[in-house]
């Protein structure tokens, strides 16, 4: 049963009551919110996610109105992850975005059985392309464009890696796009469905793109990493794919992990094995079509 297959009253009742547990890739999350704006957002952006058993949740997220007076005067909302409130309250119109940011916080802090690396994940023929990149590198824009061009969507934000096998689990949650990226992606992806626009404290305008149903449907299938690419969008730059020394890429992956130190030598061996079997590159680009062509070329060329 998916979230969309529950009746509206049933879904809203669970969200407002004991919680609706959704399966997001290898993670089950209990979501509680009495807020209609978040309930409606979940009904759309998480429609294809399977409903999981109540006892299966890895963590619980809670988004609700804060304070009594605040409900009437400039209403605000708060987020809690497993009872912890890591963020200041935000204006009520940012509730859905706060849910996503809080979900990210939970994945980065509450997942201890999988290596969590900050990277987008896409796949072709069961093989994963990892895009680890700092904010501003164009990771999410490239990720959405690759999906629009036929790549299977795995994740916009996190690569969840089994330490024993090195397999990468998809976590196909909504893609966070900023500023001009929304227009760029919607021009390529006519069926794209976006959530409400909010302005981050940094000033960036953000909208969340609903993940494609095909990616959600395949979220239970782990992937073998074959390509690790550092994307770097630079205005006016020529498209260039350059090899990166494996030692350097391994150090970058470890730096991009939220919990690498928790796994000891297992984590080191796991990431080293991924680097061993992957082609490691930087992709500098300004022309998105050329960047897509380069990624398609990588997928055709299976040589490591």
């Amino acid at each position: 049963v998916t979230a969309a297959q529950l009746s509206g009253p049933e879904r809203r009742g669970r969200l407002a009551g004991q919680g609706l547990v959704l399966q997001a890739g290898p993670l089950a999350v209990r979501i509680r919110t009495p807020l209609r704006s978040v309930q409606d957002y979940l009904a759309g952006h998480y429609a294809d996610f399977p409903v999981a058993d109540a006892g299966a949740a890895h963590f619980a997220v809670d988004v609700r109105a804060s304070g009594r007076v605040r409900r009437f005067v400039r209403p605000q909302v708060t987020f809690a992850g497993d009872g912890v409130t890591p963020f200041h309250p935000l204006p009520a119109h940012m509730a859905a975005a706060l849910f996503e940011w809080g979900f990210n916080w939970c994945v980065s802090r509450r997942v201890h059985h999988l290596l969590v690396v900050h990277a987008a994940v896409l796949s072709r023929n069961g093989h994963a392309l990892l895009l680890p990149a700092p904010p501003g590198a164009g990771k999410s824009t490239l990720c959405a464009a690759l999906v629009s061009a036929g790549w299977q969507f795995g994740s916009d934000e996190f690569a969840l890696i089994e330490p024993e096998t090195g397999l990468v689990h998809p976590l196909p949650r909504p893609i966070s796009l900023k500023d001009q990226s929304v227009g760029i992606v919607s021009a390529r992806w006519r069926e794209a469905v976006f959530g409400p626009e909010v302005t981050e404290p940094t000033g960036a305008r953000v909208r969340h793109l609903r993940p494609p149903g095909s990616g959600v449907a395949q979220a239970h299938v782990p992937l073998e990493a074959r390509w690790v690419v550092l994307p770097a969008y630079r205005a006016g730059a020529s498209t260039a794919l350059a090899s990166v020394p494996r030692a350097r890429m391994l150090a970058h992956l470890a730096d991009s992990s939220y919990n690498f130190t928790e796994f000891g030598a297992r984590g080191f061996d796991c990431l080293r094995a991924i680097i061993d079997r992957s082609r490691c590159c930087t992709l500098t680009y300004s022309d998105l079509d050329e960047a897509l062509a380069v990624c398609d070329g990588l997928a055709r060329d299976t040589a490591v």
Binding site: A247, T261, G264, A265, R272
Partner: protein, 94 residues
């Protein structure tokens, strides 16, 4: 005179063929460091036997094939400072 040793006696090194850099993983700290191939040789030496800065200066001049004129006390001090800041080496207890 300070005697230097690796902060973790069980450092794990990995270097891919043809690459000038390697990684050093510390099981004790759970940390991974990108290091030069020369640093690997030096760390392996310090792991086997704690040494003074003067010993290290001599080792770099001989073991790493660096021209003795290019190895100064100052450059060794800089090297040790960097490795210490990365928590790869420490002063051994007297």
């Amino acid at each position: 005179l300070h005697v230097w040793r690796t902060a973790d006696p069980d450092l794990i090194f990995h270097r891919w063929p043809g690459e000038s850099e390697a990684v050093a993983y510390s099981p004790r700290a759970g940390s991974l460091h990108l290091v030069t191939a020369s640093a690997v040789v030096l760390l392996q030496e310090l792991s086997a036997r704690p040494q003074t800065a003067a010993d290290i200066e001599r080792f770099i001049g001989s073991g790493l094939g660096v021209s003795p004129g290019d190895v100064t006390g100052e450059s060794v001090a800089d090297l040790l400072r960097g490795l210490r800041e990365a928590e790869l080496v420490e002063r051994a207890q007297p």
